[in-house]
């Protein structure tokens, strides 16, 4: 990889590096996004606790945690917009800022889904504890959160490889989701129809959070390589 450019030409020429201030601005945006994504990842785990362990005492905490997430989101959107307007970014700078706006949307949506999970659990006053269903739900929470957390890592490290492997990680989530739905269906009489419907929603929300994570990680691949990883058509369930 380094054979084409053993040493950046500018260093050989001893020319000065320009646009430090602009680099700082871009990096502040990136760190803001990491901050926001971390909060969403945390809240996903927290909403998982609410739904898996019927921790109704945490519902308010999940709902409240979304406010700072939205606030950071609006702030980052505003600053991204300003930079687009004022700096005429091109090439990797432009790709980064476009990826930023996409990632903000994905992250904001994910945050809302975590809130929805907590709210649905609260509306049911907790879900009946069914060992198989709870077991799969716990795994689904864990795997979805993992996919989202790897997206946080992708933004934090600007590692394009994470986005390239994201689809595979998401396949695990999709498989568990399918099994989760199958189990809900099989046990719908025991847990009741309303509860089955609500649990299906929760399953879908978790699967979506993972999807958003995949998109965020793939956007980092786009920033760093100039193209998106080859994506296979996603499973019919989504």
């Amino acid at each position: 990889m380094t054979t084409l450019h053993p040493e950046p030409a500018h260093e050989q020429k001893g020319e000065i590096e320009l646009r430090h201030h602009f680099d700082d601005e871009l990096d502040e945006l990136r760190r803001g996004l990491v901050e926001m994504l971390s909060l969403v990842a945390e809240n996903t785990r927290r909403s998982g606790e609410v739904v898996v362990e019927n921790r109704l005492d945490l519902v308010d905490a999940v709902i409240d945690a979304d406010d700072p997430i939205d606030k950071i989101c609006r702030n980052l959107e505003h600053r991204t917009f300003e930079i687009l307007a004022l700096q005429q970014p091109v090439a990797s700078d432009l790709r980064f800022l476009v990826a930023m706006t996409r990632a903000l949307y994905e992250a904001e949506r994910s945050g809302d889904l975590a809130v929805n999970i907590a709210k649905r659990t609260a509306a049911q006053n907790g879900f009946p504890q069914h060992p198989q269903i709870q077991g799969l739900l716990a795994r689904l929470v864990d795997e979805s959160a993992k996919v989202f957390e790897s997206a946080v890592e992708a933004v934090a490290t600007l590692d394009p490889e994470i986005g390239m492997g994201a689809e595979e990680a998401d396949d695990i989530v999709d498989t568990i989701t399918e099994r989760f739905f199958g189990n809900i269906h099989a046990h719908s009489q025991e847990i009741g129809l309303e509860c089955a419907v609500e649990l299906s929603h929760v399953g879908r929300f978790l699967e979506r959070i993972a999807d958003h994570g995949v998109n965020i990680a793939q956007n980092i691949t786009y920033v760093m390589t100039g193209s998106f990883p080859d994506t296979e058509p996603s499973s019919p369930s989504s």
Partner: protein
């Protein structure tokens, strides 16, 4: 709002950020994509098929001024009815290359070229080629508006007259001024001095003068750098109109101008030799939309994003 963000993400440090480190380690997309065989960045065959025919073809062009090697090994195709922009830092040879296309370098005693410059397949530096004839087909517009100290009318009619134009001169002048988007502004003062016009109008008059002899290639060397933003946009709009009839090659320092008007962009850079001699060379040539979104070479990236240069 900005201060608030600083609190949440921590103040900027002087250490190289992850973003800076990552972009510094980024070896350019050419190298990157080599490692990623699945991600196609190269133009597809169908894109190449749909391209306009090549009107001017440069192969292994080297330009010397005496011992000084000004431009090294440039190969570039220029296509019909397209605008091609040549960009790069000062001294990268872009203007030198441009001047070889209508043999303007002939006027410099020590200048000589190696390699081929073919116009419709004819070697422009061939033995029997008359440079004056070349300039009739390949017109030029310069950085500073340089109308003749004559009337507006005479500025347009001068070239055709010495070229032996036999048609109706009034019609030709009007048609040419229409093409240069100047007619409405000057139709009532055709006999006034060209110097009475504004800078932007003078430049459009020079463009009109260049197209009056019906060339099919127009060379523009920084045509808008002496103009204000509105006059600049007029020139750019005009270029867009003109490419229906002409093929345009523009040298510009204004990268956003290249991004706005051109179909393809060639990026030149300077190579510093052992004895400090500076030789221009072509780094990357591609569709303008590719150059400004996904350049293949790190040098291009650094220049167009303003990091180095």
């Amino acid at each position: 709002m900005v201060n608030e963000m600083n609190d949440t993400v921590g103040a900027a440090t002087h250490e190289p950020s992850a973003y800076e480190r990552a972009r510094r380690d980024l070896p350019g997309l050419a190298a990157k994509t080599e490692a990623l065989p699945d991600t196609a960045v190269a133009p597809t065959a169908s894109e190449a098929d749909n391209a306009n025919p090549v009107i001017l073809n440069v192969e292994n062009l080297n330009v010397y001024y005496g011992d000084f090697h000004a431009v090294k090994d440039v190969s570039l195709p220029f296509r019909q009815n397209e605008i091609t922009a040549l960009i790069g830092p000062s001294g990268c040879g872009k203007s030198t290359v441009l001047r070889t296309f209508n043999r303007m370098n002939d006027l410099i005693e020590s200048a000589r070229i190696e390699g081929k410059v073919e116009y419709h397949g004819v070697d422009l530096y061939g033995k029997n080629v008359d440079p004056v004839e070349v300039r009739r087909h390949v017109g030029m517009v310069f950085q500073k508006p340089n109308p003749f100290p004559k009337s507006i009318y005479d500025n347009i009619s001068f070239g055709p007259k010495i070229g032996g134009f036999k048609g109706n001169m009034d019609d030709l002048v009007e048609e040419t001024l229409h093409k240069a988007a100047l007619w409405e502004e000057v139709k009532d003062k055709l006999n006034e001095s060209a110097y009475a016009l504004s800078g932007g109008q003078q430049q459009r008059l020079c463009i009109a003068r260049a197209i009056a002899t019906s060339p099919d290639v127009l060379l523009m060397d920084e045509p808008a750098s002496a103009l204000d933003p509105i006059a600049t946009l007029r020139i750019e709009e005009l270029m867009y109109e003109l490419k229906r009839d002409y093929s345009i090659i523009i040298v510009t320092h204004n990268m956003q101008q290249a991004a706005r008007v051109s179909d393809r962009t060639a990026f030149f850079s300077v190579e510093v030799g052992e004895r400090g001699q500076r030789t221009g060379r072509l780094v990357e040539f591609n569709e303008t939309s590719k150059i400004f979104t996904t350049p293949m070479e790190q040098e291009t990236e650094d220049y167009i994003t303003g990091r180095f240069g």
